[in-house]
Symmetry: C2
Subunit: 363 residues, 2 copies
Amino acid sequence: MQTPEPTLADVAARAGVSVATASRALTGARPVSDTLHRKVRDASRELGYRRNAVASALRLQRTETVGLVLPRYTTGFLSALIESVSDGLERNDLSLVLRYSEPDALHDVGNVESLMARRVDGIIICPSSLEASQESIEAAGPVPIVQVGRFVITDRSDSVGLDEDRATAMLIAHLVEREARRLLVVGLDPDAPADARRIRALRGAAEGAAAVDVAPFTPAVLDGGIRAAERLVAAGPGALPDAIICANDDVAAGVLAVLRMRGITVPGRVQVVSLLDLAPGREDLTVTTLRHPWPEMGREAVRLLLDAQQRRREPVGERIARRVSLAPQLVPGHSTREHPGPAPAPAAAAAAPAVIPDPKETP
Amino acid sequence: MQTPEPTLADVAARAGVSVATASRALTGARPVSDTLHRKVRDASRELGYRRNAVASALRLQRTETVGLVLPRYTTGFLSALIESVSDGLERNDLSLVLRYSEPDALHDVGNVESLMARRVDGIIICPSSLEASQESIEAAGPVPIVQVGRFVITDRSDSVGLDEDRATAMLIAHLVEREARRLLVVGLDPDAPADARRIRALRGAAEGAAAVDVAPFTPAVLDGGIRAAERLVAAGPGALPDAIICANDDVAAGVLAVLRMRGITVPGRVQVVSLLDLAPGREDLTVTTLRHPWPEMGREAVRLLLDAQQRRREPVGERIARRVSLAPQLVPGHSTREHPGPAPAPAAAAAAPAVIPDPKETP
DNA sequence: CAAATTCTGGCAAACGATTACAGCACCTTG
DNA sequence: CAAGGTGCTGTAATCGTTTGCCAGAATTTG
């Protein structure tokens, strides 16, 4: 059955009409008499005709396709974003073409260029870095592009990002409610602008209620967490903070493993939290973490993109970039105390009481 | 700068040649004199010309595009597959268009149909179910399609899957080496064919060395693990097995949470393993798990697909479906004992000895 | 009944790149 | 110098759809 794919001309011939009529009958671009309409539909079905999206795109100058560019090094925590973007696009009969960038600004630009060559109708990009952001947006030229994620510049294109202030505030509140006064940050690099900003935000949120120290920088991976924790433990019991704030779940896992090995109880002696949930889909309750609202971010990105396409006809000059900030969700795990208030007696820690103490209001 | 995208005709005009020559100079389809070659390249650069992939695809009857169809309900553990497929395709200058299927056979077929309308050059599909598998392969007609994942039928198309026998054997060996004799399976449904097969495989691997019981079925999610574990604990200490085999990491997380709450030590009293790693990228060392080789599976899928494209010219009749089976990797976590052999004295469990006992050879 | 209007369907020209074919210039060789 | 190559370049057809324009039919209106 190596039959060549049937074309509109075949359908028209079978229905005894011209290709023009066949096209109009199938697309409904113009009213067609009822009998012909039926004849064409039947012929189309009988031949198993599928409209050639390529030819259509060429003629219409519209591919019904949106490009999504993501940084590759992410260990999969962006898949929720992919799914929600894909979902939003599908609802609007748009296809998704996906591209990963190596962590390197040029590659980001190259991906945008290549999508442009495919004549996508729009682009959603999670830039690998700030420089990448700038250049890739320019590469998109006239087609709408929206940025989503961490490195976004707000004056060139619409963007969706995290509400970092709310994020840090939530985390600090959670810890302060649980009597943590000495906090230690692990896995953030004070010399990196984005990390520095986050550290400032943490200090700001802790103002007066807790002290925020920063551990000597170790990379934000499992092993970095292990190294930082071992250095900490080696410094003696006095050096232990009340809580450790880790850059992400991997770092937290490393820290937890070391503490466990050294017999330091969590969350009894030290509490541990993570700033970034690496595997949003997974519910393992291990570490208290900030879950980024990836599904919502994807939805918003698609919404902004479609909206931007709507207004392409409008006067160009007055277009103003829109920025959407979303708050993360704090997912409590076993690495912070179950209820606000002072630490329960060590023995009772395993089987926590069912009585819930009044939470301290600390806005 | 709302300039319309330059076309090949513009480039030709600027270089003072015909479009034919311009095309040949840029694609290198046929030799072009050196001076013209340079002139065309320069003109192309000056105008910022980007070849229109749509027009090219129409003419060449080849879109340089591959479709990837995935089941949506997966909580992100397929992202490693996406990345490796994307990587493999990029090396061959192919684009990836991604589609998610709702867990519903028709949707799978619809996605393949829609990819066909886009005239993709090939399809990689992770079918949602066995029925989906059958129909969607037929929908692909003459374009090469390869299946990857769990539900594959082997006689219609090339496929990449897990080596289930090796998988279960590795897991059982790991447990038996660690003195587990009474094993309990949680989260598998004996009435579902695929699960039943897996249970049989476990029993077969345990033959003589351990007994495999199956807990009353609870869904393979966090809450299912919690419910199963509570029922187990309620049955009294005598009912506890030596090891619990969970359907996936979420189930294991639920089981661990309950055991921890009830003061049952892991891995001291009970060991816990998972059959399916839900978040391959993440390294949290919590539960001993089988990690599916998603990156390798993606690579293999791409390889099979490209290879199938190569041989499309060959006689059709003799094409024979190929099946690639890959073994998973056993990732040890804190939920099974660190070293093979009998359980260490409870006090020594925290700081395990650096001496490694001879592993028991149990092939 | 004629004229004006509406409706339907077909012809043919796009969309932008590739390529079979033909043509022209130049070089080699008898 | 002529015949036959060889090597570039240009003309035009082609891929499959959509759609502006036109012609004829059908319907309404004066």
